[in-house]
Symmetry: C2
Subunit: 467 residues, 2 copies
DNA sequence: AAATTTGTCTATTTACATTTC
DNA sequence: GGAAATGTAAATAGACAAATT
């Protein structure tokens, strides 16, 4: 059978079937993955329609479907009915923002690190805890879901920020990432689809990739979910879940409007969509709107990590799970962790019952405000999203910059920032922007040093690079 | 189309296709799962051959394959070419051995808890650590793989127990369960097959079920892997991994023979099988044989949890990963945990560099020896597998007992034990036996109280139950 | 040792749903 | 607003391989 007639065929990808033993579909999926990773196919490129490729290779349509599906599960491509299949826009970035080296020769503005002031106070507090009677029992095996007292502490405390839950619905995880992973493993299957913002938390991306769950970018305008046709969209995209950071969204810093929350809650209830609400920034944010949880309490799993407002080193996060999902998530948490360190859980519990907690929150908040004031000063002439208590900001780059290029150049200048591509979901080309974490540098002085360098980079470019 | 002609057909399972909208295969898979859970199909029951069921339902063979495959991934049934498909023998047990209640009205001999003596010493040690300069930096975000010093400590220390690895190959996990889960998520895909003993660690079973990986019982004789035809077996079963506890296997307490280790290493290397070596009991065991890691260092991921010999509450385990797997496992650990608590990791690191470690190991070992002496005393006339330093024992029941029945009766008498069914892999009926954890009760007196009750149960049965 | 039983797996058929133009 | 383009997914076909008898 000759395929010579296709030689002049206009096709963006022309794989070849070698005569090896391997099944055609694994072989070609591997070839596709390789060609994407090698840069032969670039982010945003359109692949041949399934039927055309089937014709060209003399295979059946559904065999091509399978090849594409395999690569889609790895997050390499994304398909849209009626439009075609495209290379994902984030294929050239790593979504594990590894805390690379212990000793860094650049200023860290990339990774989100909370302000570290107050940690000596935590150390002193722990000294006190150690003198308490029976404390050594927390070094033993304890219930994976923590003690009743620990759960009660949390269910009481989160009232303050608008979440009404009983102690029975509080679960423990070893941090926010762990909580998201447990929810995904417990409530979703490979191939399930979760909707989120077109730019979203990179940790979610790595979880989705690992488990084979697909992330779908929700229609958005100016950082806000378009809620007028959301129901129709979710229905046609067959979404089973949502992931949201309603306050100070990572990386764009947007906080959800009231109507947005209401609509998302309604749609979730109507279509029975599971909402993963990451309340990571709720404690600091100026938000006055109720959490998503309050609009769809039976559909929402609400995650509170203590990393940002208390300290990251103890690895404790809380998870509010509605009754119908509690069993499954409890099970996946158990299967992944056996249990959260009861020792750390108890230390955190005691901090929650002490005035230290508010002191820590207050101090860190002040530090954030001071740092953001500095950032505002330096980038007064740029668009710099984010409010006074954000730990990171979203810097819109002048049109002539490519985000990745800027990240590279910034690093050469001694500053680590993360470009928009790293947060991209799906095929839409990410905007020209970078994320700056103002609380990551050791001191305000370091932050200023970094900002000076970035500013200089932007300005120099304005002069030397011609469009 | 009438199927009346099949009315007298001899078939162990006769599902019905309702006219609902759901696809036939999900519908029937659900029905099968439900019938198994409801007890209509019992452990060990043979299902109709795929072709017969296809005939009966007027569907194609491969549709039935799909139905069976779905249930097999959930661990409900297991299929063997040439033999047929059978209901798994553990479908009536839960494999999440949850640490149910804070207050128990029975003596715990089920869950494996290490001896808790020595925990006050750990508390005191931590007090000392807290006074060290710069200790608060371990409350911050740190490298997910720990500091170089921490990794060096471990790579040096494990030399003692026969594992030669460089610091670069040491990874951190939040406990042994977390390590196994990370390896499975990082190196296996749903549908992949992992071979292990026909009775194996229940934590592995829950991981396999959650991820959709299949556990395959290896041919075994008297607790030892039959190594003469192992290669052929692995080839035909298409195994991608092994899971072993080479010392004091859970639950049968067997320690691998030398030839067994050599053979497993050889087969793994030849067929490129990934070995998960759970060295959980290596520190206590009297074993003199090298670890599996030393026979196939490029194929073996070796896990050291500190839970049993130091304390469980800090949630730290170490993982030795060969170069070619390090990246993937590091990635899945990052995706699941972000990082292990650097605070706990540092405490443990300092204990490893102090004489306290050996004190703790010594004390716990002595406690185990003392408790096992008691157990031997009570069950001198029974078969009770396990040596002096095992934290659990494997009690073979008189033939007239069903394991599950014994577990139930023991609980009624106030003692929690775990029956063999809970550890069963595949379809083979588990032997009549239960696992007793001698180190779980609070004291030796409690242990004796429990043993008295179990002994009475066995003896009473000898008199009152007629075969 | 050959025929039979039984499960596995890749590839195909076909109906369907959404989006675009 | 209807036709064309494009992806989705359930069910089928058929060759293959292992285990049993």
């Amino acid at each position: 059978m000759t395929i010579n007639s296709f030689e002049n065929y206009l096709m963006s990808w022309k794989p070849t079937i070698s005569d090896r033993k391997a099944p055609i579909y694994t072989q070609l999926a591997g070839q596709l993955a390789q060609d994407i990773r090698a840069g032969i196919l670039r982010p945003g490129d359109k692949l041949p329609p399934q039927r055309e490729l089937a014709d060209f290779l003399d295979l059946h349509l559904s065999t091509i479907t399978r090849i594409y599906k395999l690569c889609e599960e790895q997050g390499l491509i994304c398909a849209k009915v009626g439009q075609g299949t495209f290379v994902s826009s984030d294929v050239n970035t790593s979504d594990t923002l590894l805390y690379s080296h212990e000793t860094m020769d650049y200023i860290q503005l990339g990774t989100i690190l909370p302000p570290y002031n107050g940690n000596e106070k935590v150390v002193n507090f722990i000294k006190g805890v150690l003198t308490q009677p029976d404390i050594q029992s927390f070094l033993e095996y304890r219930s994976p879901s923590g003690t009743y007292v620990q759960r009660k502490t949390i269910s009481d405390w989160i009232e303050r920020i608008g979440v009404h839950a009983s102690p029975e619905n509080v679960l423990l995880a070893t941090g926010g990432q762990n909580a998201i992973c447990a929810i995904t493993l417990g409530l979703f299957r490979p191939g399930d689809r979760i909707g989120t913002n077109p730019l979203s938390f990179s940790g979610l991306k790595s979880i989705a990739k690992m488990i084979g769950v697909q992330l779908v970018p929700l229609p958005e305008e100016d950082g806000h979910i378009q809620y007028d046709n959301l129901e129709q969209f979710c229905r046609s995209e067959n979404l089973k879940g949502f992931y949201f950071v309603p306050e100070q969204h990572n990386p764009t810093t947007h906080t959800m409007k009231l109507e947005e929350r209401i609509c998302i809650g309604e749609v979730a209830k109507k279509l029975n969509i599971i909402i993963i609400e990451d309340a990571i920034n709720r404690v600091f944010s100026e938000a006055i709107y109720p959490p998503l949880f309050s609009y769809a309490p039976n559909n929402t799993l609400c995650i509170f990590s203590i990393s940002k407002f208390l300290c990251p080193g103890l690895r404790v996060a809380y998870l509010i799970a509605p009754d119908r999902y509690r069993g499954s998530v409890e099970n996946s948490l158990y299967t992944m962790n056996l249990m959260v360190s009861p020792w750390n859980a108890e230390i955190v519990n005691r901090i929650f019952n002490s005035p230290l907690l508010d002191t820590l929150i207050h101090e860190k908040k002040e530090e954030l405000i001071a740092r953001n004031r500095i950032a505002d000063l330096y980038f007064s002439s740029q668009i710099l999203y984010g409010t006074a208590t954000c730990s990171f900001r979203w810097l819109i780059l002048p049109d002539r910059w490519e985000s990745q290029k800027f990240e590279t150049k910034a690093k050469e200048a001694g500053v680590q920032v993360f470009c928009s591509d790293r947060f991209a979901i799906g095929k839409a080309p990410p905007p020209k922007a970078v994320r700056l974490c103002v609380s990551a540098p050791k001191s305000k002085a370091e932050l200023e040093k970094a900002l000076v360098k970035l500013k200089r980079l932007l300005t120099r470019a304005d002069r030397s690079i011609s469009p």
